[in-house]
């Protein structure tokens, strides 16, 4: 099991307090491609932050790549993110003025690998997402779809146990959007565990497993209705 949430609750302090997640149970097996689907404000971003160890649960247990996140220090969580978790964001967050190759290589910056090794692996990963010929382009020279594929490569370059994508198609037109979804499927086929957060049902419908979330609760989960999931 790559990720397991048990009774996870996350409440943001305020008046009134906002309950973003309420007693959520979720299991993600190795090699799955899961869509977490819900309208904005449903708690799906909180879910991603907790899966990505960027945020901690107030109650319940979170296990990621075999670690009980609640018992880890901030440094240990950083290490987990550096080595085991890859992120893809809606806005790509590529460094402007830096080549695609070095943007991808930055995915390994905090692993302590020497620059030459980082670049070598970045080159391989860029080839894997089909952008070998764009290695020396800067972000503004790339199309939106290419930019997001560079961001996916950056998330993949460290061979993470789980790839978390937050609205990866949210900033793209439908054509580039389909492009990225195809890429995610290809990666899934080659064995990568992927969680996609989206409010776009068109995207969600193409994913093998969908988890629907609303008001901080899971309202439907393909895996729960069909406990034996391929993967």
């Amino acid at each position: 099991m790559v990720a397991a949430l048990r009774g996870v609750t996350r409440t943001y302090p305020g008046r009134p307090p906002v309950c973003a997640l309420q007693a959520v149970d979720l299991c993600i097996e190795r090699g799955e491609l899961v869509g977490i689907v819900g309208p904005s404000g449903s708690g799906k971003t909180t879910m991603l932050n907790i899966l990505g160890t960027l945020d901690r649960a107030d109650a319940g247990t979170v296990r990621i790549a075999g670690h009980d996140v609640g018992t880890l220090t901030d440094r240990q969580l950083s290490a987990l993110r550096a080595h085991r978790i890859g992120f893809v964001f809606q806005q790509f967050f590529l460094s402007p003025g830096v080549s695609a190759l070095d943007n991808v290589a930055d995915g390994l910056l905090y692993t302590g690998l020497p620059l030459a090794d980082r670049r070598r692996r970045a080159e391989q990963t860029l080839a894997r997402v089909g952008l070998a010929d764009r290695a020396h382009h800067r972000p503004h020279e790339l199309s939106g779809g290419q930019g997001q594929r560079v961001a996916v490569a950056r998330a993949l370059v460290g061979h993470p146990a789980i790839l978390l994508a937050d609205e990866p198609t949210g900033a793209l037109d439908s054509e580039s959007s389909a492009d990225v979804v195809v890429l995610l499927h290809e990666l899934h086929q080659s064995g990568t565990t992927i969680v996609v957060i989206t409010h776009d049902h068109e995207v969600a419908d193409m994913l093998p497993r969908q988890v629907h979330i609303r008001d901080g609760r899971i309202t439907a989960d393909d895996a729960v209705s069909m406990p034996r999931v391929a993967g």
Binding site: N49, G52, L54, D55, A65, H67, D74, R75, Q76, S78, A79, L80, R81, A82, H83, R84, F87, F89, Q91, F93, S95, P96, G97, V98, D106, G107, L109, Y110, T111, G112, P114, L115, R154
Partner: protein
Amino acid sequence: MTPPSRLRSRDALRVAGAGLAARPLRMVLAALGIAVGIAAMVTVVGISASSREEIDQRLRALGTNLLTVEPGETLMTGEPAKLPQQGVDMVARIGSVTSVSAVGAVGDALVYRSDRIDPGRTNGITTMAARPDLLAAVSGEIDSGRWLDDALAAYPTVVLGATAAERLGVARTDATVTVWLGEQWFVVVGVLEPAPLAPELDAAALVGWPIAQELLGYEGAPTRLYERSPEDRVDDVRAVLPVTVNPENPEEVNVSRPSDALAAQTATDETLVSLLLALGGVALLVGGIGVANTMVIAVLERRVEVGLRRALGATRAHIRIQFLGESVLLAGLGGIGGAILGGIVTAIFAASRDWPFALPAWVLGGAAAATILVGALAGAYPAARAARMSPTAALAAM
């Protein structure tokens, strides 16, 4: 177990440098503030060191082994005392004395450009009888013409000090110019260069000892003795000079070391130097505040970058090192620029005054240390703030 997050020090430097290079104008402006402060401090110390070096060189050239002997006051009545006539010969007999000479002020012999000048306009020039060996003893130099040798000393000839020649308007020393000295015509045969160790000679008209006694009614008592001995014997000689010059009333003799007065000029400069240095320090402080301001803004603007880096596995310490590194690098660039600028200004100033260029190594070391300190202090708060940021809030800042 997962290996820990790790940022190589070379990568930390690269990340900090890239952060600065992404906003070059801001970097230059913020570094400029530091540069001005460092340049001011380096220049102040550099100019003061060059001036001291110049004085040291002059002292080395002139020698610090010259002692002068003057009459003091009589113990009983407080009247001006006199030095015995044979003082010079007595001093010459002290074993370690290498040269000795004397002048005697001819009090009532006033000097005018001609006999038509109003007697009230004395120009403040003193007539002095000088021994032929005077120049050697005080390291004096002839600017033009010649010095009073034994032959000239018996004739109404005069050598003018640098200031005296200027006041009288005497430029020629080819024996065509005469001055009205003590109601007599004296031929100007030479003009001296300024004598730093015997400034009293600058405003003097020097005549031969015999002619002063013959024409000007000079009694022959020296008013100032000049004496040189090897450097390591100066203190010993100084101790025995009063009793040698005036065995009967050694307490009526004052001994002084003119090089001390010259060296004291440097000491008086030091107050001004510290004041200017403090002013440079204030400029550096203001520059540091500029860097802090730049860094605070940078952290606010780059929250998303902080969030992304945390997502890529950066620890809080890595974020802190990144921004602290940027701040130190920024201040360091300013410091290097300022040190170069300060060195150039010092070199130009020294060259314009014909001073040697001197910039002690500790100044550059101090400037480097100061910029690192300023950069670290200025960056400490913004870096801590960036490190404290929660990754989710930073990513939500879009």
